[in-house]
């Protein structure tokens, strides 16, 4: 059996195993789930060994004598002090390093690229140069109203009563339009994924693959049907742990 054919059967089978979860939790899905877990962690470990340990640490240390890399190595090793109660606090230094790094890198970048850019993008004239009120101006006005009212919704130290309440409600309406719109927009993306999978399944149901998808689909359905009958006879408690 050549590897392409084998790969096709495996891919078709695993695809159907995972889809079987849509019917209900069952041994096919559980097998797929645990296999995926093991494979994915294994893949990650191999990557870490070759690209992080060997390329980033071992090679520069041994060949380039880049001894500064001992510091991150020690920081990494210190994570294991957690297993010794007396030394556990050392691992916090590594946590602090990572957390501090995230905080430091984020501050100027968020302010510059997020905050100021955002403000710059929002401010636009609400009347045209000839003091007319065109559609573009209407849109800029609407954006200003939307942004401000959403910001009012996020005021935490003010009680949302009276005018504040009204404005924050307007803000929520804007938020709901945005979320509804992005939900609607995303439907397309998710259906595309299913289309992608369907292309593959259709491919694997061709004669070159000996109708893999179809054969496997029928088999899975049959086994699931028998499994159902088998469960019904058993005590329910035993299978729903």
């Amino acid at each position: 059996m050549d590897t392409v054919l084998l790969g096709g059967w495996i891919a078709a089978g695993l695809t159907l195993f995972m889809y079987s979860f849509l019917y209900k939790d069952n041994p096919f899905f559980r097998f797929g789930e645990h296999l995926y877990l093991g494979i994915s962690v294994g893949y990650g470990v191999v990557r870490v060994i070759f690209s992080n340990f060997i390329n980033d640490l071992y090679a520069p240390l041994v060949y380039d004598h880049d001894f500064i890399l001992i510091i991150p190595a020690l920081l990494g090793l210190s994570l294991y002090t957690r297993y010794f109660q007396k030394l556990a606090w050392i691992s916090r230094v590594t946590f602090a390093f990572i957390v501090g790094l995230g905080a430091g890198l984020n501050i100027p970048r968020i302010i510059d690229g997020g905050f100021f850019k955002q403000l710059e993008g929002i401010i636009a004239p609400v009347l045209s140069e000839t003091w007319n009120f065109g559609f573009a101006n209407f849109n800029s006005a609407l954006i200003i109203i939307g942004v401000c009212s959403v910001l009012v919704y996020f005021l935490f130290s003010v009680e949302h009563k009276g005018a504040v309440n009204v404005i924050s409600r307007v803000g929520i309406y804007f938020v709901m339009i945005a979320f509804g719109a992005s939900f609607g927009y995303t439907v397309m993306g998710r259906i595309s994924l299913l289309i992608g999978r369907s292309y593959d399944l259709i491919e694997f149901s061709k004669p070159e693959y000996y109708y893999a998808s179809i054969v496997l689909l029928v088999l899975i359905i049959l086994v699931l049907a028998f499994y159902e009958m088998y469960i019904k006879k058993q005590d329910k408690q035993q299978v729903t742990q």
């Binding site: 602090a96 984020n106 929520i172």
Partner: protein, 233 residues
């Protein structure tokens, strides 16, 4: 001495790294950029060590399931077999997925392509089903907010599908006022929703997030937020 060291060392480290890398942004010198590049290597080295913690945890969990013969412990064997199998094959292939000279896939690459890749794509594509059932269940015009959500979603779904655009063209007559064709097409309406009200809300929310996350960063640097060290004490 150790008690205060235990308390202050992590805070000092967070402060020093935080301030340093915030200031780095303002120093247009090659060495600060190089430092930033080196740092990403540091980061990868630390996370490489951290991977071991994950493996220990995973091993522990499934080892005890097998040992105690917990329900469905057989699946834990599947985890071990696939985990160690993948690691063994990966080591044997020296972590290479595809031989760049011959263009042939190695066993490690083959395992990724025929096992992990379809599993990944399939789990991802299950979202197509979930998004439909979530829409069906949640989109009820129960409150004003829910109604707005629902209407916006319906318009965009209609407007982004070529069939929706086509149906709209067939069903809605257009007329012209002062040279402007009315009503707008469903595609234009969708575009307007995305570019105006959507943008306003996105802008407001992201400004809020910016402020929240800057405040959080400052709290970390000044040692006010210490939850990551286990509790505030």
């Amino acid at each position: 001495m150790t008690a205060s060291l235990k308390k202050w060392l992590p805070i000092a480290v967070a402060f020093a790294t935080g301030v340093f890398f915030a200031i780095q942004y303002y120093i247009p010198r090659p060495f600060t950029d190089e430092l930033l590049s080196d740092l990403s290597v540091w980061f990868r080295i630390i996370s490489a060590f951290a991977m071991g913690l994950g493996i220990i945890s995973l091993f522990h969990l499934h080892y005890y399931k097998i040992k105690r013969q917990a329900p469905a412990w057989g699946f834990s064997i599947v985890v071990f077999l696939s985990l160690f199998g993948m690691i063994a094959v990966g080591l044997w292939c020296l972590g290479v997925e595809k031989n760049t000279d011959t263009g042939k896939m190695t066993a490690y690459g083959w395992l990724y392509k025929s096992l992990q890749s379809p599993l990944q794509s399939t789990m991802f594509s299950i979202l197509a089903f979930y998004i439909a059932s979530a829409a069906f269940r949640a989109f009820r015009a129960k409150t004003r907010e829910a109604t707005i959500l629902l209407i916006a979603a319906l318009i965009v779904m209609f407007g982004r599908a070529p069939m929706g655009e086509w149906l709209w063209q067939q069903a809605v007559p257009t007329f012209s006022v002062f040279g402007v064709t009315l009503p707008p097409t469903i595609g234009q309406l969708t575009g307007w929703i995305m570019k105006v009200p959507n943008m306003a809300a996105q802008g407001g929310i992201s400004l809020g997030i910016c402020l929240g996350s800057i405040a959080m960063s400052l709290k970390i640097i000044f040692g006010i937020e210490r939850a990551y060290m286990g509790g505030s004490k």
